[in-house]
Amino acid sequence: MTRRTLVLAGLITALVLATLASLALGAVKVPVSEVIDILLGKGHGGPNQQIIESLRLPRTVEALIVGAALGIAGAILQGALANPLASPDVIGVTAGSGFGAILIIILFPGSIALLPVGALSFGLLAATLVFVFAWSGRNKGSVGKVVLAGIGMLSLFTAATTGLLAAYPDRAPSAIFFIAGGLTSSGWEEMQTIWPYFAVGFIVALALIRPLDRLALGDDVAASLGSRPQLIRLGAGIAAALLAAASAAIAGLLGFLGLVVPHVVRMAGGSSSHTYVVPASAIGGAALLAAGDTLARTLRAPIEMPVGPFMVVLGVPLFLWLLRKAV
């Protein structure tokens, strides 16, 4: 019990630090005292205030929400599919979102505002197709079928995306940034369209925490306790799809988070109970993405690098170190 509490306390501290760093650091130097003033509403106007309020604050909030969403998506998928390699990639959402976004970038560059819509719709489409295939025929909704259908969808959309990129190589650079995964300072607009999907995803995931624990003891015990195993899996799939597609719509393809963060919190806290893993993955994911994003836009300022590689740089050593201790 206490080990878990310690880990949670550590994660929350990391989250607070990462948030402060994200707000205080950037291409333009804004003194921390001024940052705090602006946040408390005592700003003096001018470009610094605009930078903090219209650029850094929305971006930080996006990083926190997307990081939490991906962490949760990975945690509930790993629980529902009883598979440590499960992540939003496995149910085809990431590849579908990637295709939808690249479609807009390459074929309709004038309507770039539609990018989140494209990513969201194709991400959800891919997940829906995976569930339809997995729930048909015999062995409805079995884990094996979901994973195989997900891999099939992943291959399909990855191939389609590669085909698009090959056909229009001149438009590839804008697409690369999306594929590598990155946040951009675009104000509140994107979040204003996408937040309902996050909200629904978070709520469903929250409701699934106890049912997933029951599922961990097997379908029969879950049924004995009054749950319906296939419904839990379906619900987890839907919540994960919503969270992952919404995340891709805003931040590109950041699959790594959903796979690794739940494992890191499990190994650190020594517990697989979802009442601990799901919230811890949310906090850990948010902290990791906020920290990674801050690094990505300050290391080579004013050039902004895609954040995907940074999270790998921050997360993989931690993951490997914990792995050595755990095994």
Binding site: R214, A216, L217, G218, G226, G270, S273
Partner: protein, 270 residues
Amino acid sequence: MATDHKLLSAEGIEVELGGKQILRGAALELERGELVAIVGPNGAGKSTLVRAVAGIQALSAGRVCWSGRSLSGIRGRELSRLRAFVPQRMPVPAGIDVREAVTIGRSSHLRMLGRLTGADREAVDDSIARAGVGRFAERELTTLSGGELQRVQIAIGLAQEAPVLIADEPTSQLDLGATIGVAGLLRKLVTEHGLAVLLVVHDLALAMAIADRVVVVADGQTVASGEPEAVLTPERLAAVWGADARLTEHDGRTALHVAWLDTAIAVRAP
């Protein structure tokens, strides 16, 4: 009056799985304070029968009533307070210790995001004590032996605080010592704690020793129900199992005597 109703009353149970008719009109009853052993050859439908009455397996026909109420009208959470189902082998998740697992067994008593109350914690402690797993309550499930795990599974079921415990072949994969332990636990639950237990077993000598009543399932139907001595006669053993065998009880021990190499009795067609 509620006491007029049997705890469980099921008849005409038919179940089809994967195109095959597994159960074709089986029946089962359970009263308070009795341990009923379900026996029969492999593929007879014993597991399917108990899963059907537990509400875990869908029926194609038949009626199941728990305390006079039709199974179809009872929702999941309510059903979990009427019976606890202990599967033969549950998956053993990493990172969960015994106490956590038993607490999960208690979750049907908790509101959606509700916290554990004092009563809930007591129930968990109680289940752990009754199942005799207190010695290793803080150990992770992955570190337990077969027998210890089976007891934990029973503890998880006990946490539901249901009057009926249904156990599907809890002893089939345990060694002699562990089997004795689980057998004793199940008997104690009935005798000392007033539970009703429905138990699927292969071991006929064990069934005779601990069961108040034995139900024989063969070919998808219940062919006999009654006291062990009355049901498990040599004639029955020959007819249902195709065995030249006899059950005896002497000095507090039961034994199954089998003519292993005698092929005089025709082997039953599957």
